[in-house]
């Protein structure tokens, strides 16, 4: 392993700690920039979905992965963002403003939700967020004068000045660009006081509190930030799909975001991106399996749900650190070969961390 020499406190705060990493990220950035030149439109479309879902995933990751607050209602934030964007667009608000407002609106709803959930933990919180999502969905359905109810809203393409995002590659640059921006904000947050307060709450609420962290306040902050990020993703989603209805933001959509963070790797920014790639590519992957093993399309119905569920179970059983955790292990294995010790990553059990005694 490589232990860098540190000469200044700035070293610890730096965005990229090792020169080698910088090279790799530089190459990745180049590859992404040039992608529309060598990838087909279909793959560019997939990548722009990866961008959207990674942003939503970062919102969920902040809440679930970094603060330890399980949310089964993330889709509600996406819905709020999407509807805010669609409605503001109808009133002719410019995209830059409406995108920000979509995030602000969703963040505000998150803060309001925290009023009733601040004292909750664990499964109670999960179910309370579920309830929140149901209520949001119902309000969107019933508030017909604003949302057009179940009939949905047609969303036009994004227009900035005279520039229209009418082609795949344009939207791709927008969503990847926003993803990079959001990643930068997240990194900043996590290397600051607030970010540390959030991870502290995840590991031990009681000692976080004794160190001066006001739990209710930080739970409100994290729900607001998570809501805002997911809301921004929702706004992009609305433009990407161009037609939104309340039933696109159901419990299934929330579960999908939860799967994204868990499969990607809890508590890591890479994890959110890995998870987004996974969620977007999985259907194609299933089609490959189907074709390769000559499974009749009659069984495809079961296959899809089955693969999805099986992966969730297997990841939890065998790789709770998610794809990113697996990637790190492979990297460490190569770095330390042949001295790799399995025990380095042995998972810890937490019998004392009983829910009932929180």
């Amino acid at each position: 392993m490589h232990v860098p020499m540190k000469t200044s406190y700035n070293d610890d705060i730096r965005l990229v700690r090792q020169r080698g990493t910088l090279v790799w990220y530089g190459l990745l950035a180049l590859a992404l920039l040039a992608a529309p030149m060598y990838l087909g439109e279909h793959h560019i479309a997939q990548l722009s979905f990866v961008g959207i879902y990674a942003i939503a995933g970062l919102g969920a990751m902040l809440l679930v992965g970094y603060t330890g607050q399980v949310s089964l209602g993330q889709a509600a934030f996406m819905a709020i963002g999407a509807y805010t964007e669609a409605i503001l667009q109808k009133f002719g608000v410019p995209f830059a403003a409406s995108l920000v407002l979509a995030g602000v609106m969703a963040g505000l709803m998150g803060a309001i939700l925290s009023l009733s959930t601040a004292r909750l933990a664990g499964i109670y919180l999960a179910i309370a967020t579920l309830a929140f999502a149901f209520i949001v969905e119902e309000v969107l359905t019933r508030w017909e004068s604003l949302t057009n109810g179940s009939l949905g809203i047609l969303v036009r393409r994004i227009q900035v000045g005279s520039f229209t995002f009418d082609q795949e590659w344009k939207f791709y640059y927008l969503s990847i660009g926003l993803l990079v921006l959001v990643l930068w904000l997240m990194i900043n947050l996590l290397r600051s006081r607030t970010g540390r307060a959030l991870t502290a709450m995840r590991d031990s609420e009681i000692s976080a509190q004794s160190l001066g962290i006001q739990l209710a306040r930080y739970k409100a902050i994290v729900l607001a930030l998570s809501g805002a990020l997911t809301g921004v993703a929702g706004a992009l989603y609305a433009h990407r799909i161009q037609f939104i209805t309340p039933d696109q933001f159901t419990i299934m959509a929330s579960v999908e975001l939860l799967v994204l963070v868990v499969v990607g790797g809890l508590g890591s920014l890479h994890g959110a991106v890995f998870g987004a790639v996974f969620i977007v590519m999985l259907p194609q992957f299933i089609v490959l399996i189907r074709d390769a093993f000559a499974i009749s399309t009659s069984y495809q119905a079961g296959l899809d749900a089955g693969v999805y569920g099986l992966l969730m179970v297997l990841f939890m059983l065998f790789e709770p650190q998610g794809l990113y955790g697996r990637w790190q292990k492979i990297k460490l294995y190569l770095d330390t070969f042949p001295f790799y010790r399995k025990a380095t990553f042995r998972r810890q059990r937490m019998f004392q961390k009983s829910e009932q005694l929180r």
Binding site: L120, A131, A305, M350, K353
Partner: protein
């Protein structure tokens, strides 16, 4: 007078629906108390139970009660197997892991049901000895299906009460729920007990699935009713068996009344609004004992 009859009628159908929520919630609570696992697959277990009942009764033509019993036994085995294979390795893991894994199990169950020839995505009915008729009381009418559900819930509650109160096994299960470590030290075989609790929980799921079959029919998505049972369990205080029953009944009745007296849309969110209100006042539900963490 007409208003009073309508009101009573609503209460009755609310109670019947509430009983369904209550049994599903009971299944959640049994498992949660024992192992702190919230089983998001409970609804799908219910669906699987109903499909088994359908196969035994309708496809194989068994007598209703024999088919019902057989379905319960099969589901109990499946429940124990799930615990043994999937959930035991997860003991002590954080909440999200449990949430994800049980949601995953739910998906797998759905996938299996869809892929089995003769089950699939169609909707089926189960004929019961009691279906079709109604019982009238003054101006009130209760369908036999609803009566059966209420009766079965009562019976189940009594049986479970006697079991936990008076049998060795039941007492051992209670001990396990209260303190696994202590139970282990006094010689309770904690692991087998946990499997047995899963078995009971899965069997109650099958029971409720078959009770529901004449009303909502048997189909892949029937497990979604589990989402309504969550508020029931939470309102009751997730760790309390009587709480689950009371929570279920409250939700059922509130829903029925909201559907009749309040504007459109309130029926569907009544359960969730009520739950958020309860949680804001009592963060651990109505019946939970408050235990502070020791530091």
């Amino acid at each position: 007078m007409q208003g009073l009859i309508e009101f009573t009628q609503m209460i009755i159908s609310g109670v019947a629906t509430g009983c369904i929520y209550a049994i599903v919630a009971l299944g959640f609570v049994l498992i949660y108390k024992a192992s702190e696992i919230v089983n998001f697959a409970q609804g799908d277990l219910m669906m699987l139970g109903a499909f088994l009942g359908f196969s035994f009764i309708t496809l194989l033509g068994m007598p209703f009660y024999l088919g019902l019993g057989l379905a319960l036994v099969c589901m109990a085995l499946i429940g124990a197997l799930l615990d043994r294979v999937v959930l035991r390795p997860m003991a002590g893991q954080p909440v999200f892991a449990i949430v994800i894994i049980t949601i995953g199990i739910g998906f797998v169950i759905r996938s299996i049901v869809i892929s089995i020839p003769g089950w699939g995505t169609e909707t089926y009915g189960i004929d019961t000895p009691y279906s079709g008729g109604v019982t009238s009381l003054g101006g009130l009418v209760i369908s036999n299906e609803h009566l059966a559900i209420i009766a079965a819930t009562l019976l189940l509650v009594i049986v479970l009460y006697l079991f936990f109160r008076f049998t060795m096994l039941g007492v051992a299960m209670q001990a396990t729920s209260q303190n696994q470590l202590a139970a282990y030290y006094v010689g309770v075989p904690v692991k087998s007990i946990l499997s047995m609790i899963w078995a009971i929980s899965a069997a109650t799921a099958a029971l409720v699935g078959i009770l529901l079959a004449p009303i909502t029919f048997v189909h892949v998505n029937m497990g979604f009713i589990g989402l309504k049972a969550f508020p029931a369990a939470v309102i009751g205080g997730f760790g309390s068996l009587p709480g689950a029953i009371v929570g279920g009944l409250i939700i059922g009745v509130v829903e029925a009344l909201a559907g009749f007296y309040l504007p459109e849309g309130f029926k569907d969110v009544a359960a969730y609004v009520l739950m958020l209100v309860v949680l804001a006042i009592r963060p651990k539900g109505l019946f939970a004992q408050s235990v502070a963490k020791k530091v």
